[in-house]
Amino acid sequence: MCPLPAPCRWLLFVVPFCVFCGYSLHAPAQTVPASRLLIAFGSYRDRPKHPNIFFYEHDGSGSGKIVGKVGTERNIASAEGHPSLSQDGRFCAFTFELENNTGRIYFWDRKEQKLVEHPALNNSPNAQMGPSLSSDGNLIAFSALNRPGASGQGWHVFLYDRGARKTVELPGLNSQTFEDRLPALSSDGRWLAFTSNRKGGVGLTDIYLYDRRESKLLSLPRMNSRHMDAEPSLSADGNLIAFASDRPGGRGGRDIYLFDRAADKFLALPGLNSPAHEYSPSLSPDGRFLAFVSERLGGEGERDIYLYDRQAQKLLPTPGLNSKTEDFDPCVISTTERALP
């Protein structure tokens, strides 16, 4: 028996409805915003001898799809690799090499779907490769072989300012008689990690960190080993460094490691490494996700890209990411925005 008099019974429907609307309008925002990931990577899937750069979008959980590729010509003998994304996913810098020509740094605008020329960036007759972008896409760190004006022969690290259209000085970074390569730039452009075989390190090949604000080189003795440590990738603030190493004590072959500079210790990555080789790590700017290459049995091809969620401490499904050929050089960014270009 309804307790309300008949003229008021409509309130039984209206009041709950109003309460519901009010709740919907004023409900607190979702406490853990969903991540959207964009992974740029190299792949031979389209052309057996000539890799191209592709883009893969992932929901941060278990779904994803290929959403595009760099639109360079496909009817020429060329190779692309080492992609690096700006934080908004709009720009992608990558290594481009026309067969029997020297490597160049190219810049792809995903929104405009066109290459952006930087003549001063590629102003060298010799090879250049391995770009790394700041979050706004304005700064590009890269490696160059015998670039005019370099302090010595061999590979060295350079920084290019797109807005100023010129290279930026890096006093005290490069060695004169050894080689410095594979740079990784933090989001704000302050920190620059790179690999070097200079003497005086912990091992033969070590990772160094350069503070552009202080023009100071850090040697990271607690991070490096007597073995090969290479391919650094930085979190946005430069505090976390992911890298590949063949030091003993890992799962086997090369493994991925993550070092926290502030805590001065390694962070565990349970379930990431395997007895096969893992290398080419890419840390998302927020430090949560790690994309990397593995040659483990059971993959799709010779080299496959895997995605690790540090928060969940597990590998995430990546449907459609890998092909039966080789997929490599991942670069992952994460955003809570609804759409990427």
Partner: protein, 436 residues
């Protein structure tokens, strides 16, 4: 043509003699199994090594030409434009150092001998190092089959794992001595002896292997039920029996290996080729040549830097794959008691230029390069010969390609001093005394 997975015959009775003959026609140059078996009948003779286990060989060919400076003959004190970006590491043999990109192999140097003064004149062809530069252009496996005949193991005496490419088979010896082909042991494009696997099988490698083996069983049942088979002469029947024998089937079945061991070899085609090679020599195949596949990365070890800059491919994935597969192979052979009777050889067509080019890579360089030997009585933990301080030319003990061939034949049981049959293949060359 009979295909595993999609037999062309609509019923067992439609399998014709022609089709069964052509089953054996998928070798490098179209050898038929009947011819091969007839040759076996003619050539079969007791192996001179009939006492104990006959020596076998796993010949690993790093197609494209590996840089000796980044692998077995680094130059840490050279100028930067020669030294390259990678370091030099000690091994478990005092006094022997190799490139830092091979850390696992460094712990197995006590099983190996490195020849650092290999020299050739051929800047382009791969046939030279795989045939001893003989006019026959026959690979070592074909020559050994001709000279030593077929072993009583029942296994094919000569197998080739990996893409054929331009590499030699039997050359002028005739198609009878061609190897059996296994294009891809990892399962993507498996081609078990003279059978072709349809491309439509499942993309999953494990499913492919199941499909392959199931297909063999179906073919076997089909053949044995077929009247045409019963009417064939003995040679053809024996050919069929060989290809469908349990022993051969088992030898090619990588699924019989423990998963963790297969993982230790590495999931790459090269890693799985190494474990397959071990299985084949263990079962009685005399000579297994592994061709490092050229796809997709522009001719394997051919790191001119003209596709992607620099020597980056050496760092990933070439050297890590070699390091993992080869070191596990050596360890596995030793643990099984096979290393003393199995010669492992690792080489390419040539070395690479001491000076890094403008692409950051290195170009072809046959004048001085390295070869790694292990097993079969090779003096372990030794260096033979040396290059100059830039790795450009032999500083001492230059070894020519015919001498390399003579060394290999001697280690595999051919009396290179007294057996006149070897002369057409090595001329007057003598084996490297330090290695035999």
């Amino acid at each position: 043509m009979l295909h595993i997975g999609k037999p062309t015959a609509r019923n067992g009775q439609d399998v014709t003699r022609r089709e069964i003959l052509r089953v054996g026609g998928l070798g490098l140059l179209g050898v038929t199994l009947g011819d091969w078996w007839r040759s076996r009948d003619v050539q079969a003779s007791p192996s001179p090594q009939s006492r104990g286990r006959e020596p076998s060989c796993i010949f690993i060919f790093l197609s494209g030409g590996p840089s000796h400076l980044e692998t077995f003959d680094p130059k840490p004190n050279a100028p930067v434009n020669i030294r390259g970006p990678y370091g030099t590491i000690r091994t478990n043999v005092p006094g022997i150092q190799i490139g830092e990109l091979l850390p696992a192999l460094a712990q197995h140097m006590d099983k190996c001998a490195i020849l650092r003064s290999m020299t050739s004149r051929d800047e382009h062809a791969g046939t030279t190092m795989m045939s001893g530069a003989s006019k026959s252009a026959a690979s070592y496996g074909a020559v050994l089959t001709k000279l030593k005949g077929f072993s009583p193991s029942g296994m094919p005496p000569f197998a080739h794992v990996g893409p054929g490419g331009y590499l030699p088979g039997a050359g002028t010896l005739g198609t009878t001595y061609n190897p059996v082909l296994v294009a891809d042991p990892s399962g993507k494009q498996v081609q078990l002896p003279q059978f072709a696997l349809r491309a439509e099988v499942s993309a999953n490698r494990f499913d492919q292997r199941k499909e392959l083996l199931g297909g063999i069983d179906r073919v076997r049942a089909q053949w044995h039920a077929n009247e045409a088979v019963g009417k064939m002469d003995t040679s053809y029947q024996r050919a069929v029996d060989l290809l469908t024998s349990d022993k051969v089937r088992a030898a090619f079945d990588l699924a019989k290996e423990p998963e963790d061991l297969r993982t230790r070899y590495g999931g790459s085609t090269f890693g799985q080729s190494c474990i397959l090679a071990r299985r084949l020599v263990e079962a009685g195949t005399r000579f297994v040549q592994i061709n490092w596949y050229s796809e997709p990365a522009w001719h394997g070890w051919d790191v001119h830097g003209a596709d992607l800059p620099g020597l980056a491919r050496m760092e990933s994935p070439l050297c890590p794959r070699l390091d993992q597969g080869l070191s596990t192979l050596l360890e596995d052979l030793q643990q099984r008691g096979l290393l003393s009777s199995t010669l492992v050889v690792v080489t390419g067509e040539f070395g690479r230029t001491p000076t890094v080019n403008k692409y950051g890579g290195r170009d072809h360089w046959p004048r001085c390069f390295s070869v790694l030997f292990a097993g079969a009585g090779v003096p372990a933990g030794t260096l033979v010969g040396a290059s100059d301080n830039q790795g450009g030319y032999p500083a001492n003990r230059p070894v020519t390609v015919p001498e390399f061939a003579a060394t290999l034949y001697r280690l595999l049981g051919i009396n290179t001093n007294l057996d006149p049959r070897i002369r057409p293949f090595i001329g007057d060359a003598a084996p490297v005394a330090e290695l035999v």
